[in-house]
């Protein structure tokens, strides 16, 4: 394991640990399903943006 990187330590202060804890309560399969749903949502938003001309 590499020693701590001071730059990463700064970024770590802004990590939302509540999201991590929620994710760690899920099974691996549930995490991957959630990722696919998020991808679908992002694709839908992109489509909506294009349709709105932005």
């Amino acid at each position: 394991m590499l020693p701590p990187d001071p730059v990463v330590e700064v970024y770590k202060r802004h990590v939302d640990r509540s999201l991590i804890r929620e994710s760690l309560r899920r099974s691996i399969e549930e995490r991957l399903e959630a990722l696919m749903q998020l991808q679908e949502f992002a694709a839908e938003l992109r489509r909506a943006g294009r349709n709105a001309g932005v």
Binding site: V8, K12, V15, S23, L35, A43
Partner: protein
């Protein structure tokens, strides 16, 4: 959008030897970040290249971002001539990596991988410690947030949360 289920099934059921790395491996470990492609480090023996070529052929792999109509042939000879391939497939974006910075090849990653069972199949995924090391070795500023999250995940798992 990548169909992780179908991609992993296509590779595993064909007996392809690979290790999941990158954003999907981070998701396996608990990351909540959005990733658009599947990254795998594949084993480079002739037999495995044959299996890999056969497994993905039905899904029309092509060089991602390249103009259509190039004389790109998807077969084990093409895999043997190259090393890392960023591909589009009918199942989504797939990065096939023969070697990664800070991690090396399949045989180097194997001792640092874990076996996961997901969607009814078993496959290998890079362990959290090595995943962090590999992302740090890549030295890309865009990875800083991802590294911070992975290190926070490790701390949460070890019960060393600072919040």
């Amino acid at each position: 959008m990548a169909d992780f289920k179908a991609l992993l099934r296509a590779l595993s059921e064909s007996g392809v030897e690979f290790v999941l790395v990158g954003g999907v491996a981070a998701t396996v470990h608990g990351s909540t970040r959005l990733t658009a492609d599947v990254d795998v480090v594949y084993e480079r023996s002739r037999d495995n290249l044959d299996r890999l070529a056969l497994a993905l052929a039905p899904y029309h792999p092509y060089l991602r971002g390249a103009p259509p109509g190039l004389p790109f042939r998807w077969d084990s000879q093409t895999l043997e001539r190259g090393l890392n391939f960023t591909l589009t497939t009918d199942l989504g974006a797939l990065d096939l990596l023969g070697e990664i910075t800070g991690g090396g090849r399949y045989s180097d990653l194997l001792p640092h991988s874990i076996v996961i069972r997901v969607f009814g199949i078993e496959c290998r995924c890079l362990g959290l410690d090595r995943l962090i090391d590999v992302k740090r070795a890549a030295g890309r500023p865009k990875d800083l947030e991802a590294i911070a999250e992975l290190e926070a995940i490790r701390e949460e798992r070890e019960g060393r949360s600072r919040t």
